[in-house]
Every structure is written in structure tokens, then in C-alpha cells.
Amino acid sequence: MVKINIDGNDLEAREGSTVLEVARENNIDIPTLCYHPELTPSGDCRLCLVELVRGNRSKMVVSCLYPVEPGLVVKTNTERVQTDRRMVMQLLLSICPGSELLQDMGKKLGVGKVEFPVEKNPCILCGLCVKACKEVVGVGAIGFAQRGTKRVVTTPFDEPSGTCIGCGSCVFVCPTKFVKMEDKNGYRIIPNWGVKLKLVNCSKCGTPFAPERQLEHIRKKLKLPADALTVCPSCK
């Protein structure tokens, strides 16, 4: 165990854990957007910024990545932290003003009027969908392309995905509801990735319930026989 101090509280932390993990375990609130406990943190949204204090010097780090070390002194709520978080949130709100999540977080952080011209971009490039698809699902159908303000999440060569299994994990993790999914006339459609996959009908009730590609993926992953997964969750 490592002894650290967050906002004046002496805490015990597991070796190898991050400042954010320790803070959450101790009910210290640090806002996050691109962080998910099941995914590798990348520190892209910068909302979890905290100030590290060493003597009379301090520096800003993102808590989702910073590993604990003995004697670490962390301040999660200084004026500087708040100012930076508010400015970052303003930048996010200016590109994606329609997101309810962002609006709520902005309100909580005390962001007033957005001082930049407002755009209508539904995606904030947090990368959760990319990581979920790769790390949890194990497919990696999507990724980042281009750089800077041209950066987008897309499929290879922007073509309809040939590998997406239509599981909808990307939809589930998306904080701004940019990635959309719909089951219609026996097909699963994810327009973002140009995907339209035929759904398999439940062998008991006949209702279409999952894309064949997804079932195949699960069978392979869990080493199930070819006749497994033919029944929908409600008939099981």
C-alpha cells in the first residue's frame, strides 16, 4: 500500500492504482468523460485534471493516468483546476452543445455562457467506442482517422464495416448519443459504420434477436458448439 494525500485526506492506495481510482474509492468527486473503468485510460478529455503539489511548486496532471507514488499530495479542486476544467468544458460544449450529459456536467462545473462560436458536432472524439470495440468486444471495427480538427472516428477507409458484429457496445458507451443503432424489418442497422446485418430469428418464439455475425463471434470466443445461441434472451 502507498500513502498519499488527496485534498488534505491521508489515504491508503493500492500500488499501481491511479489517482482517479483512489479518489473514487474514497468518494472524492473528479469529473470524467473519456474514462471508463473497464477500458484503458487515455487522458484525452482532460476533465479529470488535478494539481500535484510538491513543496511550493505544483503541476497539472490527469488523474486517470497518474500512478500513485508514496507521499503524493493531490488537490482536486483548486482555483486553477476549476478554471482549466471550465475552459475545457466550454470547448467541448462549443462543439457539441446538444449533449445533455455535457450540459449537466457544464452546469455542475459552473460554466456560464460559452464564449466560442457554437458548432453542431455530435461526436466529441472521446474514443470510448473505439476502445470498447477493440478491448472489450475484441473486434476493432472502428478507429481514429485524420488528425487535428479533422480527426474522426470511422471504419477503415470510411467504407461500410465488414468486421462490425453489430453488438452495439459503441452505442452503449457513447456519452453524446452520436453512435446510433436500430433494429428494423429483421435487420440491425448502425448507420455510423455503414452496417446493416441480418438478425437471426429465435428458434422458439421466432422473433429476430441478434445478428448472425455477433452470435458467431460469441460462439468462437466462448468455444461453443455451432448449434448454441439459437434462442433469444426472453425464451431462455
Partner: protein, 593 residues
């Protein structure tokens, strides 16, 4: 003494046809049976006056040479030792011709420790480098010193990394040396991307062995068994010369298994860059080496512990590495006697912009900006007034005239709100608009931001939007406050060095040239006459003799010829404000307001 003909094959001289000159010399020497050694060398540094030819051993210095001058040079200078007056450099200060290279003022005030060999050796011949004392440092390190001994020497020398941040090289090496791992990497960073900077390029093109020697010594010190030299693919000659040099070094036994009979082994590979500015950042460079997109990561766990392929890695700028053989050869005491208290040794700078002597210079740390710009750089072009110098590349700051006596080193530049960076210096004159400059650099960085983190991707974009509005006369005074607040967060919150320093050009120009910003916003005027939305060109009727030069120069036919001795007429609606008429007029009959 051998007779030598040294033809500069650097970027500037090559672009002006020094390759043809080399061929002309080659065939003439053969034809006439001249006993002279022809060298096609790397950059000599005085690019402004290229192509350059230096005839040794006396070092008779010819500038602005053309291929058709070659027969005369061979006939008169090489064969008979005569000096050709018209090819000599004329010192603009005294109007006198200078015969020898060492007497050219541009070179006189320099201390060319790293760069000196560039004009004297053929970079594709390892014999040349060895004959000049090359690889002696490696020999000494491997045969007379322990890795710990080399490390102590490098630490004692006080050398700091030449790539940008100026981190003490010895400490960086020590961290990698101490890190646990069966395989460690030594990497040379030659992904020079700053606009106007070409020192790493010239070093790699002109003297690759000096970098390789430094790299092997570094590898020996930290215990690396594999090495990479990451070179911009836009530097094909550097890639080529380095590849040739590596093959030669391996053949002789400076690389490969059991170097010089020791039990140290190292192999080095050249890796061509992927074409992004961000790849010069250490973690992005390593990602790129691994074949991934060149995107940086947070360095809370240092690359000295987990770098390339998650193994202990040591990355150095090529100029840093080229210093190492000298430190080993001549000792830390000698090295640290050059420079200032906190910055030791020399530094190569590229002088570009509105300066008379465009080129590469090497000076001891602590030389003042004034000495660099006026004594070596020859002052401002066309006798204009100096306004600012931008140091440290696109993320550096603009330093005003009041700070010209600042002693150039890592700490002084940082105190002035700029940085050493890799050593680019862009000189600006009275006709440069500082708002426009801030806009240019923000535009560059907005293009080059990788886009991973929000403050850099969105923040630089917004900074650029605001500065563009200012340049176009569409801003309010409150925008200056927003620029400063946003700039501060982008510095604070960005993931890597690119974002953390990106606001520097705008913040430093705001600090030193605030009145120019105010003029754009309040008066809707660009004092330097640069920002197109805020200026108009006018014909001053009493000065205009109707010569018609401007009429010919105007690309959009906005100026009408009204007859001889009658002033021309400029149609404001058609004018695109390109400034061609202003440049064409010799009689001050075109005015910018």
C-alpha cells in the same frame, strides 16, 4: 598540404546547382590531370551566399559560384594559386573583398565545434571522418572507460538536450542506465519539423558519422543493444548519407557484434519518418517507430523505463549526440568551460527571415541576440528596422528589440517567454505584423495537432479563430482577455509538449506587442500594413509619373494607365491587396494605409 576543392552540397547550395558544379570540377580535374581532392561536402552554413566553393589548404572562399565559373577556378586558383576577385565575398560593412574563409565576418564570430567538419569532409566517406579524428571518442570510451565513467563525464559536462526542452542529458542517460530490462534502445531524433529550421538536417547530411559515434557511446553507457535513427522522410539526402555511413561503420567494426574487440554490441537501423510534426515528440516518435499512428502519450511513466515496445529507451536529438565524442575526447572540464552557468557548450541556430545572412551558425551559449543578428547575421535585410525574433520554432515566443542584449541560453530564453527549442530563429522586421505572425504559427499548429486531447485540438482552433478575427478587424477588446485565459488552459491542460507550448506565439506577442493587437481591434488598422482586410493601397498622385510599372505588375488589372506623365488610377473594388504594385513602384507612389 593537399590541394582540396570543397564544393558545398548542402540544401541551399544544391538547390542552386552545386551538383552541376561538382560534375564540372570532376571532369575537368580528370581531363587536366589535376592533383586535387574534390569534396562534395555537407552544408557550410553561409546559405545566403551559396553556392560556395572553398579551395584548400589556404581556404580561398568563393561565393555565388556558377557552373560556368568552374574552368576559371581550376585554371587560375587550383593550378596557379591566383585569386579570382569577382567570386570573392564582399563585406557589406567595409565594402572590401575577403579572400579567405576564416576572414569572412559570418564565420569569424562562430565557434564551430559540431559543425566545423561539415565543410571539410565528404559525408559518404568514413575515411574522411576518421582522418579528422573521428571515432577516437568511441575508442576511448570502449577501451579506457567504463559505462559508468562515461556517464559521469557526460553528467559533469553539463550538456542539456538540444532538441527542445533542454533536459540534462546525463540525467536522462542515467535513468535509462538504471532502468531494468534485458533489451534497451538508443534512439536518435532527426525528425526536425520546425518551419525555418534545418540544422539537424545539415548535420545528418553533412556529418552523419559524428551522430553515429555519439549514439554508439550513448548506447554503451546505457547498455542498449539496438538503436534507431528516426529521420524525416522529407530529408532524402540525410536518409541516404546516414544509411551509407551505418554500413561503413559496421564494415569497419564500429557497429555490430563486439565493437572494437570489446564485449559491447549494437546494431542501428534508419527509420524514415511518417511526415507529421508531432512525430518529433518522444512518445509519438516511439509510437511511429512501432508502426502505430504518431500520437503522443502521457509521460507519467518515463520512456527511460517504458518507451519503445515498452522497454527502457533513450532518445536524444542528433545535435546532442554529435557533442558526445567531443566530451569524451576532450573531457567534461573543457566542454563546460564553454557557455553559461546553466547551459554548456555551443548551439547551432538557423537564421531565417528578414536577415541578410540566411544560414546556419554555431555559437557558444551565452552569445547575445544582438551579436547573432547583427555581427553574424549581418543585420536586417534592406536596412529595415528590427522588430522581433522568434526563437524555438512554432511554439517559441517572439522576443522584442528591448531584449536584444539577452544572452542566449536555455534559461534566459525561457525567462523571456520563449524557448531554445531546436534552435530556429526567425527574424522579423518593421514590415512584419505580429498578429499575422501569431496567426501563421497557430495555423501551423492547428494543422499539426494530432487531435487526441481536447485543449490542444479544440483550443488551438479557437485561438486561431480569435486571432483571425483580430487580423480581419472583427474582434473586440474582450477577445484579448479570452485569448489569454484560453491560452493559459491550453498550456496547462494539454497532453504533450505541442499543446503545452502552442499558445506561446500568441501569448508572447500579446505581452510584447499588445499595441498592435489593440490597433487591429480599436482602430481597425494593421500598423505593419500586412493584414489584408485592414489595409488599402493608394496611388500618391504627386509622386506618380505614370511609368506603368505597377500596371504591368498588377495581376488583376486593377490599375489603369492614363497616359504618359499622368498618374495611374487604382480601382479599389478590383484590388486584391497583393502588394505587387507596392513592390514594383520605385518612386513611393504607392502607399499602404
Amino acid at each position: 598540404m593537399t590541394l582540396t576543392i570543397s564544393v558545398c552540397g548542402g540544401t541551399g547550395c544544391s538547390a542552386q546547382g552545386s551538383g552541376d558544379m561538382r560534375q564540372a570540377f570532376e571532369s575537368l580535374i580528370k581531363e587536366k590531370g589535376v592533383k586535387a581532392k574534390l569534396l562534395f561536402t555537407g552544408c557550410h552554413g553561409f546559405c545566403e551566399n551559396g553556392p560556395l566553393v572553398v579551395i584548400g589548404p589556404k581556404k580561398i572562399f568563393y561565393n555565388k559560384v556558377k557552373a560556368e565559373d568552374v574552368p576559371e577556378i581550376v585554371e587560375k586558383t587550383v593550378l596557379r594559386g591566383e585569386v579570382i576577385e569577382r567570386l570573392l565575398y564582399v563585406d557589406p560593412a567595409t565594402n572590401k573583398r575577403v579572400v579567405y574563409e576564416d576572414d569572412v565576418p559570418f564565420y569569424q564570430k562562430q565557434q564551430r565545434l559540431i559543425f566545423g567538419l561539415n565543410g571539410k569532409i565528404d559525408p559518404t566517406k568514413i575515411e574522411d571522418y576518421i582522418a579528422a579524428g573521428g571515432y577516437k571518442g568511441l575508442e576511448k570510451a570502449l577501451q579506457q572507460m567504463t559505462p559508468q565513467g562515461v556517464l559521469e563525464e557526460v553528467k559533469k559536462s553539463g550538456i542539456r538536450g538540444r532538441g527542445g526542452a533542454g533536459f540534462p542529458t546525463g540525467l536522462k542517460w542515467e535513468a535509462t542506465r538504471k532502468a531494468h530490462g534485458d533489451l534497451k534502445y538508443i534512439i536518435a531524433n532527426c525528425d526536425e519539423g520546425d518551419p525555418g529550421a534545418f540544422m539537424d538536417r545539415s548535420l545528418m547530411e553533412g556529418n552523419p558519422h559524428s551522430v553515429i559515434e555519439g549514439m554508439i557511446i550513448a548506447g554503451y553507457t546505457i547498455g542498449a543493444s539496438e538503436g534507431y535513427i528516426y529521420i524525416r522522410n522529407e530529408y532524402p539526402l540525410a536518409v541516404q548519407n546516414t544509411s551509407v555511413a551505418l554500413a561503413q561503420a559496421e564494415e569497419i567494426g564500429f557497429l555490430g557484434k563486439n565493437i572494437l574487440g570489446s564485449d559491447y554490441s549494437l546494431s542501428i537501423t534508419v527509420n524514415r519518418g511518417g511526415g507529421a510534426f508531432i512525430c518529433g515528440e518522444s512518445t509519438a516518435l516511439m509510437a511511429s517507430l512501432e508502426g502505430k499512428a504518431g500520437e503522443p502519450r502521457a509521460k507519467y511513466i518515463h520512456t527511460s523505463e517504458r518507451g519503445l515496445y515498452d522497454r527502457p529507451s533513450n532518445l536524444n536529438n542528433v545535435e546532442t549526440l554529435a557533442n558526445i565524442p567531443h566530451i569524451v575526447n576532450r573531457g567534461a572540464g573543457w566542454f563546460s568551460s564553454v557557455g553559461t552557468a546553466g547551459s554548456k557548450g555551443t548551439k547551432i541556430f538557423s537564421l531565417v527571415g528578414k536577415i541578410n545572412n540566411t544560414g546556419l551558425i554555431e555559437v557558444p551559449m551565452g552569445v547575445t541576440l544582438r551579436e547573432i543578428i547583427y555581427d553574424i547575421g549581418g543585420g536586417i535585410k534592406n536596412n529595415k528596422k528590427f522588430k522581433a525574433v522568434q526563437t524555438g520554432g512554432p511554439s517559441g515566443g517572439c522576443i522584442p528589440e528591448s531584449l536584444l542584449d539577452l544572452k542566449v541560453d536555455f534559461d534566459e530564453l525561457a525567462r523571456a517567454g520563449s524557448m531554445m527549442g531546436s534552435g530556429g530563429m526567425i527574424i522579423m522586421d518593421e514590415n512584419t505584423c505580429m498578429v499575422d505572425i501569431a496567426r501563421y504559427f497557430l495555423g501551423f499548429l492547428a494543422e499539426e495537432s494530432c487531435g487526441q486531447c481536447v485543449p490542444c485540438r479544440e483550443g488551438i482552433k479557437r485561438l486561431l479563430e480569435i486571432v483571425t478575427n483580430i487580423a480581419e478587424g472583427k474582434a473586440e477588446m474582450g477577445d484579448l482577455d479570452l485569448l489569454e485565459r484560453l491560452g493559459s488552459t491550453v498550456c496547462d491542460a494539454s497532453l504533450c509538449g505541442l499543446g503545452q507550448t502552442a499558445p506561446n506565439p500568441v501569448l508572447s506577442t500579446l505581452k510584447y506587442f499588445r499595441d498592435e493587437y489593440v490597433a487591429h481591434i480599436v482602430d481597425r488598422k494593421c500598423p505593419a500594413g500586412v493584414c489584408k482586410s485592414l489595409i488599402r493601397y493608394f496611388i500618391v498622385a504627386e509622386n506618380c509619373p505614370g511609368c506603368g510599372l505597377c500596371v504591368k505588375a498588377c495581376p488583376v488589372k486593377a490599375i489603369t494607365f492614363m497616359g504618359k506623365k499622368k498618374p495611374v488610377v487604382l480601382d479599389q473594388d478590383m484590388c486584391t491587396k497583393c502588394g505587387s504594385c507596392f513592390d514594383a513602384c520605385k518612386l513611393k507612389a504607392v502607399e499602404v494605409r
